[in-house]
Subunit: 338 residues, 2 copies
């Protein structure tokens, strides 16, 4: 039994194969095994296989000074957006000898800093930070650590190191252009969750482009609660009471947007006839509701894959990849609500 106490080590394999530990080390390293004589290689691999050798990764990490770990820090796992980014990264890193370690902060910027500090003890090859805001403390810490860091989902005005995503103002601007092109002229916005600074920038981007295109200044409704269908219903009800002339709505996320559509269905308000609705993210739910929700697609998978590619470029040699800031644009998915 290869249990923890008496685990099979490099020395055991060396003994069994009649070679030195170094030869075993080389035989089991994809990069260095080419230098070995074919029959030596075969003998070592056979011995390793029959003994059930599994390298001690802590020991490897200690000497090689790189762990092969990519540390991903997200606010929340239940959120499909972050889950898909992680899935994209893991898919892109598959079979490259890199493992991911995922930590969640619960949207607490201070927790992000503690988490990065702690994870740094594993000497990750890279950090991926997915949360919406970054404290100065994290920025200083990450710089000080000297570990490559990718900020994802967003393109911050002042990236710490690398970034893969899109400026959230752009997502709002695309929604404004779409609604304008469809002929709507009196817009409103729905948003929530004060901690979500990206949502705020989407709304700002919408407002800027909407007024630039000559639409009426948007009526903004905001609620500090977390997003949900129920909140979308409530905000839409409030909107109709306050500003009945509004003919279209940009909701900062799909949950609010679907809630708004549900409210309209219940209240007998024709969508998009009396009120058009555009969301953000393009979660699966957007395609599932009757007629489909028009929404701005955020390319989570592509961001994850591109992040993996960036990390592999890094490992490939260049001190910094050719393009350390990669813009993955979002786009409008027109469906039945606009």
């Amino acid at each position: 039994m290869a249990s923890r106490a008496g685990a099979v080590t490099l020395a055991d394999v060396a003994r069994a194969a009649g070679v030195s530990k170094m030869t075993v080390s080389r035989a089991l390293s994809p990069d260095r095994s080419a230098a070995l004589q074919p029959d030596t290689l075969a003998r070592v691999r056979a011995a390793a296989g029959s003994l059930g050798y599994r390298p001690n990764l802590a020991a490897r990490s200690l000497t090689a000074r790189r762990s092969g770990i990519v540390a991903i820090v997200v606010p929340d796992l239940g959120n499909a957006v972050f889950a898909e980014i992680i899935a994209g990264i893991q898919a892109g890193l598959k079979d490259t000898g890199r493992e991911t370690i995922v930590a969640r902060t619960g949207f607490d910027p201070a927790a992000e800093c503690d988490t990065v500090r702690h994870l740094s003890g594993w000497n990750p090859d890279a950090f991926v930070l997915a949360g919406p805001s970054r404290t100065d403390a994290v920025r200083a810490l990450v710089r000080d650590l000297g570990i490559p860091t990718v900020e994802v989902m967003d393109l911050p005005p002042d990236p710490i190191d690398m970034a893969v995503g899109f400026p959230h103002a752009e997502a709002g601007a695309l929604a404004a252009e779409h609604l304008h092109a469809r002929g709507y002229r009196r817009p409103a916005t729905l948003s929530c969750n004060a901690a979500d600074t990206r949502a705020a920038r989407r709304i700002e981007g919408f407002r800027a482009r909407a007024t630039g295109l000559g639409l009426a200044p948007p009526v903004d409704l905001f609620d500090p609660a977390e997003p949900s269908f129920g909140l979308g219903r409530a905000l839409c009800a409030r909107l109709r009471a306050r500003a009945p002339a509004v003919d279209c709505v940009f909701a900062a996320n799909d949950l609010l947007a679907v809630g708004a559509v549900l409210h309209c269905q219940d209240a007998g308000v024709a969508v998009p006839g009396a009120l058009a609705v555009c969301g953000f993210n393009d979660l699966p739910i957007a395609a599932e509701i009757g007629g489909g929700l028009t929404t701005v697609h955020s390319p989570r998978r592509a961001i994850g894959r591109e992040t993996a590619a960036l990390l592999l470029d890094l490992a490939g040699g260049a001190a910094r990849p050719v393009a350390p800031v990669r813009h993955i644009p979002c786009h409008v998915v027109p469906r039945g609500t606009t």
Copy 2:
């Protein structure tokens, strides 16, 4: 700059504080610092703080023979069920010096084995396996590794080691009891995804209890596709065409159940008047649809927290905790669709 090359080590702190490495090691270990003189402790901590010392976790893991890592293997992160189990575990492990490492298998049982084998190289304190099925290879591997392992979400007939969850047949039985108590007598079941063996057991449990209570034998509709609202709509349409006398439906998951309700709304079928619908999981969507979906709540958070508690019990000393198999029951949440 405390970058990777010249990171601050225990020896650096020892020099700065004028003590030996051992004293620093003790001062920084919560368990062993009690044995130090208070002023020594303070001096060491001050030195560690001002130098920005961060322990090298690979080195610690190598000597202490435990990493403090809990390795969680899930089929999919986008699935709210697994995300919540992970969140529950992470919440329960917070401030206990344990980190989680999360890997996904994409519902591929062979990938589960490869993943466990690879993660074992980090000498995790424990494995948490969340997927629905386990190959004999993983079972053998995990036993051979001698690392404590918790299977979660389910209570398998033959647990490898520890387990936290509920038998899925029980969830189906609860649904049958609920529908029976409400007076429904001619049931059907909707299910999908051949790889989801747990769903199959929920359906079996439903059938057994339904017939035991004297209901008509359920009409079973199955589709091999992944669950979605759209599939729920389609299955419900098929059901009504094939078995118009059916008066209630147990759907193996909330996505199918919501889809079934949406189909009924579109088709002008009164819910629950003409057809009652009960789902499984109690995802947020269940409370959000108009009137609310009646569903069997799966206690994901509680399972996560209980798993964390089990792991802490383990660390507390006992070779195996008092109750290595913990039953966290599910329950019906009655809402508007039954």
